[in-house]
């Protein structure tokens, strides 16, 4: 009887551990998928977060009255049009990896992809 009780407790514990493990795995995989987002900041302030999984066009009012048309398609994002004079942001083209960014200096606007998996590996900064 005592032996059966021990067995019973053991199986309860085993099932509990398995459930916790499965939950951990699910949470990790979900948080990995959520990673594909782009944060748009104007002069250091976050103005919107764009879900890269959704094809869409977003209009941003940058600094100095500069408007940017940002297009998100097929999990990548780019500046289709900007009123800025140098057009460097347009020339940057599409970005799709975590930590990549598009900077429009005249509009003081940064579009940066955030997520868990960095395309830069363990690189902290680039000079």
């Amino acid at each position: 009887m005592k032996k059966n009780k021990k067995k019973y407790i053991f199986y309860i514990c085993l099932i509990a551990v398995i459930i916790v493990c499965v939950i951990c795995i699910i949470i990790q995989s979900i948080s990995g998928q959520v990673g594909k987002q782009a944060v748009v900041k104007v002069d250091g302030e976050t103005v919107c977060i764009i879900d890269l999984n959704k094809n869409q066009t977003v209009y941003i009012n940058g600094s100095n009255n500069i408007k940017l048309e940002i297009i998100c398609e097929n999990n990548s994002i780019y500046v289709n049009h900007s009123d800025c004079p140098d057009k460097i942001c347009e020339q940057k083209g599409k970005i799709s990896s975590t930590n990549q960014n598009i900077i429009c200096l005249p509009a003081k606007t940064v579009i940066e992809i955030i997520g868990n998996e960095s395309s830069r590996g363990d690189i902290d900064a680039a000079a």
């Binding site: 067995k7 053991f10 514990c13 085993l14 551990v17 398995i18 916790v20 493990c21 951990c24 795995i25 990790q28 900041k41 002069d43 250091g44 600094s63 004079p85 140098d86 990549q100 900077i103 200096l105 003081k108 940064v110 868990n116 830069r120 363990d122 690189i123 902290d124 900064a125 680039a126 000079a127």
Partner: protein, 341 residues
């Protein structure tokens, strides 16, 4: 007994699974950061520690203050004031004096490869306005006569430049600002920080997990990729490259913003990128420009004569040369190999 072993194994698996989370979650101090646009670039300062809001606010104020002093286009700045009152002794802030003095010192050491009085030339090429043009020889030669750092006079807290001259601290301002930020952070007890002033990198201490900082050097022909990683602590890593600001003519020829002080034209002396690694941001900033202007031969000669300089050179034909001291802290990427000079 077997069951207990199995149970312990399960617990171990659970522990391993949980510890497989991103490394960032193992940080033992809180990350805090600010980002802002200043000095014509995008800056991000990341610090680790507790209650770092105040120190980051101080850093932000310092950057804005220095930008307001050095900005050549800001009518309220010291530099604008000096440039618009040629021939007069203009009273300026101590930071402006310090930076002008440091620039003149490095100009002398590099035999004029760095010259803050190059501004009239840079302006003529359109790099200050974005309205790029290729000036004719006469215009360049005429403007070159005003380029001479020896004619910048500093007396106490006053600066005087000759008629028709103009100065710009763009080649040294970010390095100087990085040094000032480092001092503020250290004075406030920050032991781990990463300062990124538009690609001018300065590190404080090591990463919170004890690892050295990994600073990549951009591939000048494809800036989304890197040629190597440097493992550093308490160092500035600063690059001057032909990809930073440039325009191309109708034939596709690239004209970069780094001017050769001897010709008044964009420097084309064999190098497309120079990275300098050192303790002082302002010196690394100034030297990366100077060595770029000197070109392959003279820059290698200069580094051989100044063994304390740590540098990485990338030539037009993508040959990578490094100084002896950084051999142990460099890790090449994408199949690139280096040659020690």
């Amino acid at each position: 007994m077997k069951q207990i072993k199995f149970f312990l194994l399960c617990i171990l698996c659970l522990f391993i699974l949980c510890s497989c989370e991103d490394d960032n979650n193992t940080i033992f101090s809180t990350e805090n950061s600010i980002d802002l646009f200043a000095m014509d670039t995008y800056m991000r300062i990341k610090v680790y520690g507790e209650d770092t809001d105040n120190v980051l606010n101080s850093v932000k104020s310092e950057i804005i203050t220095l930008d307001n002093l050095f900005n050549v286009n800001n009518a309220e700045s010291d530099i604008y004031n000096i440039n618009s009152h040629c021939g007069d002794k203009i009273k300026v802030n101590v930071d402006t004096i310090n930076l002008i003095n440091k620039s003149i010192e490095i100009s002398k050491e590099t035999n004029g490869a760095l010259d803050i009085s190059i501004y009239p030339i840079v302006k003529e090429w359109g790099f200050t306005t974005g309205e790029y043009k290729i000036p004719d020889d006469n215009t360049i030669n005429q403007l070159l006569q005003y380029v001479d750092f020896n004619k910048i006079k500093v007396e106490g807290d006053r600066v005087c430049i000759p008629k028709n001259s103009a100065i710009d601290l763009g080649s040294v301002a970010k390095g100087y600002t990085g040094d000032k930020i480092s001092s503020i952070l250290k004075e406030n007890g920050i032991k781990s920080a990463l300062i990124d002033l538009g690609g001018n990198i300065q590190t404080i201490g090591v990463k919170p997990n004890g690892d050295l900082w990994s600073v990549a050097v951009k591939n000048p022909t494809d800036t989304e990729n890197y040629i190597c990683i440097l493992k550093v602590s308490d160092k500035a890593v600063i690059t001057s490259g032909n990809y930073e600001r440039y325009f191309t003519d109708e034939n596709g020829k690239r004209y970069c913003h780094i001017m050769d002080t001897s010709t008044g034209r964009p420097a084309e002396n064999g190098l497309i990128s120079v990275t300098v690694i050192g303790d002082s941001g302002v010196e690394c900033d100034a030297l990366s420009t100077s060595l770029y202007v000197m070109g392959t031969e003279k820059a290698v000669e200069y580094c051989n004569a100044h063994k304390d300089i740590d540098a990485i050179f990338v030539t037009e034909d993508m040959k990578i040369m490094i100084t002896e001291n950084i051999k142990n802290s460099i890790q090449m990427l994408n199949g690139y190999i280096y040659e020690v000079i």
